[in-house]
């Protein structure tokens, strides 16, 4: 088994545990490279068909290429796609800095979707290497009744035994690719030939390393025009992956405040 085989086997194990132990789960599809890999892994886990919905909490501000990708592959991969809207910006905590406030709409949209469908588990494509607070996550991460995350009181998680009994009315976040790195995602995407959104590849000396909403995501300077070139770039760069995400850099604790409130 090579490194990618090991990552894959572990993710499949997590998917199957989530499906076996929770009543009603959905996968959060943000249309980016990570959640596309997740859907691929889910189809591996369940032999071709993902047996739960793909939930896209739509801010309405994604790039047109992303919407095209969603509509095309939602059909091609035979997904049970649920697109849910977010509330307007006025409905969100005005004390947050602008980019974080914009991102917080998604948290609210997520809460509305949760209330609507009553999911007890949401599968999310966050990774430990992306960002310091995400590094502290559990694979099965309980959320409070408000969708909030209590970083100081996380249950123990060891030997692939997961805490899968959320309190009545609360839900769990499940993180099947928590242990993957950005380079792993690309190497696997290449090996499995998973379709990608062209924005990740360099055009006119710029490319997106991470895709979010148009208004709070910026491209990085790069000449990597293929996955192979991206992998070489990642070997050499010391720029963090989310450098192009405005909300990570507004204030020291903006991202953590978002996550504690239930942001991904």
């Amino acid at each position: 088994m090579d490194h990618l085989d090991q990552l894959e086997a572990q993710s499949i194990y997590i998917f199957r545990e989530a499906f076996a132990r929770l009543k009603k789960i959905a996968l959060l599809w943000s249309l980016g490279k990570d959640s596309n890999v997740m859907i691929w892994l889910a189809r591996k886990a369940f032999f071709g068909k993902m047996p739960f919905p793909a939930l896209h909490v739509d801010t309405g501000k994604k790039f047109p290429e992303m919407y095209r990708f969603r509509d095309h592959y939602g059909k091609e991969w035979d997904l049970d796609l649920r697109v849910e809207p977010c509330p307007p910006i006025d409905a969100v905590d005005p004390t947050l800095p602008p980019a974080a406030r914009s991102a917080a709409r998604k948290t609210e949209g997520l809460k509305m979707a949760l209330a609507k469908y009553g999911f007890d588990g949401l599968i999310a494509g966050i990774r430990r290497d992306e960002e310091a607070t995400r590094a502290k996550e559990r694979v099965f991460s309980p959320r409070g009744l408000e969708g909030n995350w209590d970083v100081r009181d996380q249950p123990p998680e060891f030997w692939d035994h997961f805490n899968a009994s959320p309190p009545q009315g609360a839900h769990l976040r499940i993180h099947p690719i928590l242990h993957w790195t950005e380079a792993d995602i690309w190497a696997y995407t290449k090996r499995e030939n998973i379709p990608i959104i062209p924005l990740y590849l360099s055009q006119n000396g710029k490319r997106y390393r991470s895709l979010g909403d148009q208004d709070i995501t910026n491209p990085v300077a790069s000449n990597a025009a293929s996955i192979d070139e991206i992998l070489i770039e990642l070997e050499q760069t010391k720029v963090p992956e989310r450098a192009g995400r405005a909300l990570d850099h507004e204030t020291e604790d903006a991202f953590e405040r978002l996550r504690v409130a239930g942001y991904l």
């Binding site: 085989d5 499949i12 194990y13 076996a20 998680e157 070997e235 010391k238």
Partner: protein, 638 residues
């Protein structure tokens, strides 16, 4: 049909030849873990651009001197309290290794986070403050590394600058901790004097530690070996689920050890059913040819429809795990309320869950204390050895035979509260004198059950004299035999003529009679037969003893024919004699028959034919897992 053959290749990230090793840094609070991590990242050139500058700026804004530990303490709360709360994973490289560093916190409150981090590690660095020396948390972490199965441990004696880089002080600490770890069966790979803040011993041997000739921290990390999947051990495939999304019925799980290939003959434990692997399924291309080894998440189809459920373990016939209702484990406890004898819990062994009761607690100690006094209960952050009795049989291995399947976690109110290693199965069933060594049969239970199509059992028929026990027992015996099974009748009266001819009808002798019956029946059941016992066995306590002896094999049937009908039948004339006063201690006309309250089956022979009653018993034996029932498994249809 498309076939994929997956070649074996070395486990390396990014297609390079560099092994990936996951390490954890543990030790007492404030002994310098985060500082060492920050320093390691800097020395190996692994910091993201601008990170150091940003943190120095943050420190300046807060009017604090810069600390290396800030690198990891990304959370506001942590910087406010100056302690590391949780596990952070950070990557860096040495000359020949990709290191994934799990920063485990050292604060006593957060032991569960340390366990979460350390359980994922291939190796560990245990850090000790040169001035403070070995502390309780140092010892506790050392003990937990051993329990979690982390065998490669390097010791780092930090803050050598605070003891003037004294070689004598270093040796003192080195001797103490090495002795402590060796007592647990852990041999340190290195003991290294360092100053994490100044960099001595981290990536370079400086003049200040010129007396030290061993490896630096980076060199010690470079020598660690990644964990290997357990291909060489017997096959263990714990079943996570059975999927029926299309016309295939796929048994899904991860191979924890050994390997499998289509065509293998397998046994499904604990039931002991036998089948062949028809195909190994995959996606997008299926089926897969070639052997699948430990670590892979697979899906297989079988050559016959059997009832399989989540938690079963698939093994090769002849090397199957043991089935047990009782095991002994060495555990660590994380819950606020101490674990005490009699506590009811949920135990998880892989995907298998079973309700359990703690029946024995021994060696409950605080692993952080030097002179540990034994306690009756296992307190929070303490360890101990326990015997647990499980409500349903599980298949498991002692951890010395299989480190993957030989471990369990304990849940209390839906939250993991402890975990540990399976020391032995069937622990303490009863005290066996040391000079008696039971001889194991040459045959395995699954070999027998494959032939008889049933598991061993003790079918215990209790009821008033003339209630119909012997008639039913014989009908059942005939039926099981004609279906290819191996039934053996043990009639109370028949055994009294020989084996139990020394016993009378006093309460004591009756108890002994039942005990012997139960022992003989259990021996037969352990060897795959269905022992059918027909005995009045009026005392509830004696039947409880029989159930304890036969354990999971016991099936109690109350033949509840009304007393007046029994007396009417009176085939042996006993009732008549008793009424005449010629038969003392005869059960039936007194009120000394204590009816069962929770029998597996109750049958009134006055309202049923013998055939109907035998049908009912057969059905009960099917639903309770004694007889193999080949009906289609509806539960598998999701």
């Amino acid at each position: 049909m498309n076939m994929i053959v997956t070649p074996a290749s070395p486990a390396t990230p990014n297609g390079t030849t560099r092994p990936q090793v996951r390490i954890v840094i543990v030790g007492h609070v404030d002994h310098g873990k985060s500082t060492l991590v920050g320093r390691l990242l800097h020395e190996t050139g692994s910091l993201p651009e601008g990170k150091l500058e940003m943190l120095k700026a943050v420190s300046a804004r807060r009017g604090m001197p810069f600390e290396w530990s800030f690198l990891l303490d990304a959370l506001q709360t942590e910087r406010d309290q100056g302690i590391t709360i949780d596990t952070t994973q950070i990557r860096f490289r040495t000359n020949s290794r990709d290191i994934v560093l799990i920063d485990a916190p050292g604060h006593a409150e957060f032991l569960r986070n340390m366990i979460t981090g350390a359980s994922q590690a291939d190796g560990a660095v245990l850090i000790i403050d040169a001035l403070e020396g070995v502390r309780d948390q140092t010892r506790r972490h050392g003990y937990l590394l051993h329990l979690l199965g982390v065998k490669q441990v390097a010791i780092v004696v930090n803050k050598m600058d605070r003891v003037d880089f004294s070689a004598a002080r270093f040796k003192e600490i080195s001797d103490e901790i090495s002795a402590h770890l060796q007592g647990l069966g852990v041999t340190p790979t290195a003991v290294i004097p360092i100053s994490a803040r100044d960099g001595d011993g981290v990536a370079a041997r400086t003049d200040r530690i010129s007396w030290y000739k061993g490896p630096t921290v980076v060199e010690a990390l470079d020598a660690l070996e990644p964990a290997r999947p357990l291909e060489a051990l017997a096959l263990r495939l714990p079943v996570q689920a059975i999927y029926k999304f299309d016309d295939r019925r796929i048994v899904a799980g991860r191979i924890e050890s050994g390997s499998l290939v289509a065509g293998d003959e397998i046994v499904i434990m604990p039931a002991g059913k036998i089948a062949k692997i028809k195909t190994v399924e995959s996606w997008p291309v299926t089926p897969v040819a070639g052997r699948q080894g430990a670590g892979r998440s697979v899906g297989i189809t079988l050559d016959r429809e059997l009832f399989i459920e989540r938690g079963d373990i698939i093994a090769h016939a002849g090397t199957a795990p043991r089935e047990t209702r009782r095991l002994r484990a060495r555990i660590f406890w994380l819950h606020d309320k101490p674990l005490a004898k009699g506590d009811q819990l949920l135990v998880r062994c892989g995907p298998k869950e079973s309700r359990a009761t703690v029946v024995v607690i021994e060696k409950a100690v605080d692993p952080g204390e030097l002179s540990s006094s034994e306690n009756k209960a296992i307190g929070r952050n303490h360890v101990g050895e326990i015997d647990i009795s499980l409500s349903s049989p599980i298949a498991t291995d002692p951890y010395t035979e299989n480190p993957r399947t030989g471990r369990l976690v304990i849940e209390v109110s839906g939250r993991i509260a402890g975990g540990g290693l399976v020391l032995s199965v069937d622990a303490g069933q009863r005290a066996v004198p040391v000079d008696i060594v039971p001889v194991e049969s040459a045959l395995r239970p699954d070999e027998r059950s494959a032939r008889y199509r049933h598991n061993g059992a003790v079918v215990w028929l209790t009821g008033l004299p003339a209630s119909g026990k012997s008639t039913l027992a014989k009908a059942l015996e005939r039926r099981l035999f004609s279906n290819g099974g191996s039934p053996i009748l043990l009639d109370g009266d028949t055994l009294r003529a020989g084996l139990n001819s020394d016993l009378g009808f006093s309460a004591t002798d009756r108890s002994e009679n039942i005990r012997r019956l139960a022992e003989v029946a259990t021996h037969l059941a352990r060897n795959g037969h269905i022992a059918i016992v027909a005995a009045v066995s009026p005392a509830r306590e004696d039947r409880a003893t029989a159930r304890r002896i036969a354990d999971t094999a016991f099936r109690e049937i109350h033949v509840a024919t009304p007393a007046e009908i029994c007396e009417e039948r009176d085939p042996k004339g006993h009732y008549k004699k008793a009424r005449a006063g010629a038969l003392t201690s005869f059960t039936g006309i007194g009120n000394d028959y204590e009816a069962p309250q929770a029998a597996e089956l109750v049958i009134d022979t006055s309202t049923r034919t013998v055939t109907e009653a035998a049908d009912e018993i057969e059905q009960m034996l099917k639903t309770s897992g004694v007889l193999f029932d080949e009906v289609v498994d509806l539960a598998a249809n999701i």
